[in-house]
Amino acid sequence: MTGTLLMAACYGAGGLSSLLARWSGRLALGVGHLAALVGAVAGLGVSLGVLVGDQGRTLTLPLPELFPFARLTLAVDGLSAFFLLVISLVVIAAAIYGPAYLRAHSPGAGPARQAAQVLALNVFLGCMAFVCCAGDALTFLLCWEGMTLASYVLVVAGDRDGENARAGLLYMVMTHGGTALLLVAFLALTERAGAFDFAALRAAAGGLDGMTRTTLFFLALGGFATKAGVIPLHVWLPRAHPAAPSHVSALMSGVMLKVAIYGILRFAFDLLAPVAAPLPFSWGWTVLVAGTISAVLGVLYALQQHDLKRLLAFHSVENIGIILIGVGLAMILWRREDVGGALATVALTAALLHTVNHAAFKGLLFLAAGSVLCRTHVRNMEELGGLARRMPWTAGLFLLGAVAISALPPLNGFVSEWLTFQALLGAASRFHGPAGLVIVFSAAMLALTGGLAAACFAKAFGVTFLGRARTPHAEHATEVPPSMIAGMVWLAALCVALGVAPGYLMHLLDAPTTGLLHGPGASAVVTAQGPLVLSTALTASGTDATAISMTMVAALLIALTAMAWVLRRGLRRAPPRTAPTWTCGMSPTARFDYTATAFAKPLRFVFAALYRPRRAVIRETAGTPYVFQRIHYSGEVVDLAETQIYHRVQRGITVLSRTIRLRSTGRIHGYIGFVLAALFVALLLFGVGQR
């Protein structure tokens, strides 16, 4: 209770601290981020209080009455508390990282810009936290909108160029389209309930017929999927996320997308769920298929990106897809005792676990990319290289994040993807015919996604941090200040802790899973064999149970590494000798290094049907065709959703408006004539209707 108030007070104070920019921009940045940090710690306290406390407890807090027609309340139940936990964990890192980053990245920023950033950041954080805690539709929508607007300000308040403004505009248009869908879904429910609070909506949804219920769900799904960046609604994401300051990118990618996942879960399992009946099949399958497509296409497009932050943004599309696979599977299996049982809990646990895991490693990766950006002012990785020696901390932490996101043991990405696999394989053996095939296909795609992600991060890390510096920007880079490293270390520690000992987190997942599914808690299903072993005892007899102990895996890996190191030391006969690389007698330059484009080339060939790659090579010859002076190469791949859907819509609108323009004469009396004709027709129709 007091924690919630403290949280609100902190974000409010953080917003107000932007006024300090009048005297000192530096002071405003410091105080604003400090307030956000305290707010996040308070949020952490609130969420842990709910998650660890009595099962099924809901913290409610009436808000002051702002509107005569609705009572505003906050209600923190298990699901809300879990997402609040995710938000708070990343906000802590971002708040530690932020001030130094903003000062280092744009030292010439005036106090006005700094004030805007501090204000927008705190509004953004506050709204994001309270969306998850909202106890009624109005609070939810207000905070949702505040979150969107504040993040828009953060996107466009960065560097002043046209690219950012266009990205911001696209973001605004897309998310407001999504919000419109949400508004329809919510208002249809509130109109039936006659009240705004979730309890009334739940009661009103109980009497809906199947068609209306499904329509409302798909409206809400469309709205949330736009915000989550599910393909094909993702086009704003790879543009808007890189444009924001890096710690805000970390928050947008790591946390804001998760708020949309929260919305989907809240709608599917809570507000719109039929009373004591399974969810309609169409819901879960749609979410599962959309998640699979997003996962594969997201990572495929990420592979061809050379902008470090853009690449990470595409990986968010991929990871949202993985989360949605778990969510969709839980929706399919829930309350179908013949096939599901505890498997729904496993699927939901996997999704929630991946939510917190993705927040941790994606936050870490964005912060590391921001460190590179603020030292080199270059986002294109073809112009970087060799940063591992100049920025060892950043390089190491980026590598850790890369390992985690590539789902390699012993880090956290592996745990949640392993659980997702278990749920998929368990479900595949229970469904027969096409349904089982789709699930197997989904599992295969998830495996492909993991492999491609590893390839992608081999490229991102290798080209950015290894080899030689390709440009002076990269050559003169230095390590970032300790406060930024501290922010990254916090997330890295989370990645390791969640990877090595995930069993202890399962108790925190009990409240959201039992709250949503009314079944056994996550810890009862997944950690049945003790907290150090993850297992999926899917049947009562435990016949097809699979178990893995992440702690043992980690210990084994460490032991193997140590053994290899010792053996290498012991077997080494001659002392090491340092010599220049042999390059057939030429002096080696940075141009010899593997480029990102070259690294991704084989996959560009393999997936040419999806990428539709275009390349242009211009050769400048000196008199004879055998001597080249210069070769200019440019290549690009297209985003299928963009060319196949958005460009077509755009062309349609252009053709339509041209047609309208031909018809519109520009003569006033002509227009009045149209009005008159319309009046005539309306009156005639009215007259017919009256008869």
């Binding site: 006033i668 009396h669 009045i672 009156l683 005639l684 007259g687 017919v688």
Partner: protein, 218 residues
């Protein structure tokens, strides 16, 4: 006054209003159209006064007075002043021949009566044939606006259309709330002001009429 007398008077006034409307549509000179619309507004004021005595509604007196002052006197005077000021283009310059416009106006009137015959339920609340007359006035006003090129004749059409709305409101609901009527009148005054300024300004700067604005289209 008995209800029948009031109804008879309103019906007669409606016939006169339609007659003034025909004058407006048929007028070949702007000044004649302005006189006709002034007469129309005067008739509306009389109708307001008649209804006021019949119902004892004080608001209607106020409205009748305002109509008399603003629409029957002030606005026609402003229009005349603009015509004198511009000193050219006394003709109405129709888009389609005046005879065709008259035929259209006849169609509008017929349709209005036909339409209001089907509105049986609404008609019980009103005085006589006021509803079809009001609709006819409104639509023919718009027709005048649509078939004239110069801004001044379009303004005359706007006033006629406004008169129709006024008459319908008075007859159907025995007067709208005073505040709404005042608002409508203010609207008309504002529209007249803006259009007058536009006409004079456009004329003094680029020597073109509002009708030539279509040249701006890309």
């Amino acid at each position: 006054m008995s209800a029948e007398t009031v109804q008879a008077i309103i019906d007669d006034l409606g016939a006169l209003l339609l007659f003034t409307m025909i004058l407006i549509v048929a007028a070949s000179q702007i000044s004649r159209a302005i006189y006709a619309v002034a007469a129309q507004s005067f008739l509306i004021a009389i109708a307001g006064a008649v209804l006021a005595t019949a119902t004892g509604n004080v608001d209607l007196w106020v409205i009748a007075g305002v109509t008399l002052v603003v629409k029957a006197t002030l606005l026609p005077w402003v229009l005349h002043w603009v015509v004198r000021r511009m000193n050219v283009r006394r003709e109405v310059e129709p888009v389609i021949p005046v005879a065709a416009t008259l035929a259209l106006a006849v169609a509008v009137v017929v349709m209005s009566f036909h339409l209001s015959a089907s509105l049986g339920t609404v008609r019980q609340a009103i005085t006589g044939n006021a509803l079809p007359v009001g609709i006819a006035l409104t639509l023919s006003g718009v027709l005048v606006m649509a078939t004239r090129k110069t801004a001044l004749t379009q303004m005359v059409g706007l006033f006629a259309s406004e008169n129709g709305i006024f008459f319908t409101a008075m007859a159907v609901t025995q007067g709208m709330p005073l505040i709404i009527e005042i608002g409508v009148i203010l609207d008309v005054i504002l529209a007249a002001l803006v259009m007058t300024i536009m006409v004079l300004r456009v004329r003094s700067t680029v020597d073109a009429d509002i009708a030539d604005l279509d040249r701006l289209k890309g």
